[in-house]
Amino acid sequence: MSSKNLILRRIREALGGEPAAVDVPRDYRRGPAPVDLDLLVERLVDYKAVVHRTSDIPGTIRGIVGSGTVVAPPGLPAEWVPSGSVRDDDLSAADIAAADGVVTAAAVAIAETGTIVLDASPDQGRRILSLLPDLHICVLHPDQVVATVPEAVARLSPGRPLTWISGPSATSDIELNRVEGVHGPRNLHIVLVEEEAAA
């Protein structure tokens, strides 16, 4: 007997009889709830992300990057890409790692937890892009922000590779205190676009 059949038979014997009918109570908040951008900012900052609220996206990005080199996903709006940047066109890991930073958009953000989610759309790129450089600049529009986790799950497509990011890389492994800065980007900047620019 294959191990698959063995395991399935063991499970059926263990359970005995009919599949269990279990009612799942969903009395928790599932939204939609009003979005509080100030809360999002507070929660991002609490986990050591730097937040820029601005209507000047290119200028803000240039200011953060300074003289550093950045990589950009193929679908990132051209005006956000600082001069001297490298567009990802199947770049090698070494090339990406050599860049000082990366600029991406986002798919969703969650105010209550201070989380941004990337779904590898063309303006966010391959997962490796936002992983190797030490600086991640993420441009976020207010209409991408939801209040709670269930609302974010509902907006996302599980078929895409997803990366949920809450603050810079961190660890709780030393005396169970959160310390920022291990393998992922140690600097996370969120450019939160002000309403007038989004309009």
Partner: protein, 469 residues
Amino acid sequence: MSTHSPRGVGHLRGDQPFPEAAKVALANPQLRRNLQHATTTIRGKSGRVIAELPDWQELRAAGSALKAYTMGNLPRLLEQLEEKVTAAGGVVHWAADANEANRIVTDLVHQTGETRVIKVKSMATQEIGLNEALEAAGITPVETDLAELIVQLGKDKPSHILVPAIHRNRSEIREIFLREMPGVDPELTDEPTELAAAARRYLRETFLSTKVAVSGANFAIAETGTLAVVESEGNGRMCLTLPDTLITVMGIEKLVPAWTDLEVFLQLLPRASTGERMNPYTSMWTGVTPGDGPQNFHLVLLDNGRTAVLADEVGRSALHCIRCSACLNVCPVYERTGGHAYGSVYPGPIGAVLSPQLTGIKDNPSLPYASSLCGACFDACPVMIDIPSILVHLRNQAPHPRTEKAVMAAAAYTMDRPRLYARAQKAARLSKLLGKRGRGLPPPLHGWAASRDLPEPPPETFRDWWRGR
């Protein structure tokens, strides 16, 4: 018929019974200070972020029901998962026990021609002793989680589900790094930020040059075939993104029925485990994505005693565990003995109910007794596993010492006969024969008297007083 995890492989059985093994930690004041500091810190953090949610209890109820539903429908959900993963370009393997899982992973690595794998912390691969199996086959496993690295460099054993090096404080970690980490800066201080940066420098080249990774999984969604790994440092993202081949080893109980159900667990897990509103990184992938991440994906579904747990109607809810370690952090026993005393990769209250069920009670008879039944674990569990009740249930199955059996039988006999009982109460006054304040008690009762006096028996029992008034 269901089978327990086999002997001679993996890390589910200790060398000593819990009370003996606990003596090591109890005699080490530095270790106890480290544990007390860490568990007190995490209890505070977790309590604060849980209090922020108005619907924590509703989330717990949903999480508990979702897990019960999953267990009750496991065969259908597992086959659904296999179908979805396969459709998305992954390959699913089934492993009846630790030996088979180790063989599958080792063969898969051999097929790539590589001799080194990077690993993101996974309880399942620790449980089955995968690292030892890989090493025996000439493959070097590199643990990339900071705490695992501390354990691996310190030639130590993990002592906590979430933070395997919880028993080490910052200055001990600095010493381990200075002693064991090639190319480390000799000026390294014990600042946690500097220690983390040292690990970053040390592992970077390994991440970029290793072609095979091994991971566990926190959740697998049957409906979509999506896997999720929840982590903090980014070592998980490195392992899940950079290599050509990814091999994920996952217990069959890690299933979640539908995509939507993640909305529950992604709120429960971080707040209960690291005490964060959300952990820094969560990665989710479905099979293979062309041009993004590993192009070869293998999922190994592991039984290794889980079906034996499932066969016990009371004990099976131990499989609901999402490995948050909240029960460890609130446990007064764990706080004083640390994780090594449990002899299994699963320490603390959840380990005390899970390990004996995975191995069979005969191989871990002391673990169900490693609890004062104070109930703090049940309150802390984000999926409401009634650990105290399972402990009591397992004690009823445990082999009992012969003397204890005789004493308990005699006590029950007497207590079911009030007149005999009343006479025995009077005889209790003879306990003075046992020496002043119990200091002459015979084993196993002498342990009590090592630090505590027995009360002097009163001049009359309540019963006597009641009759006399």
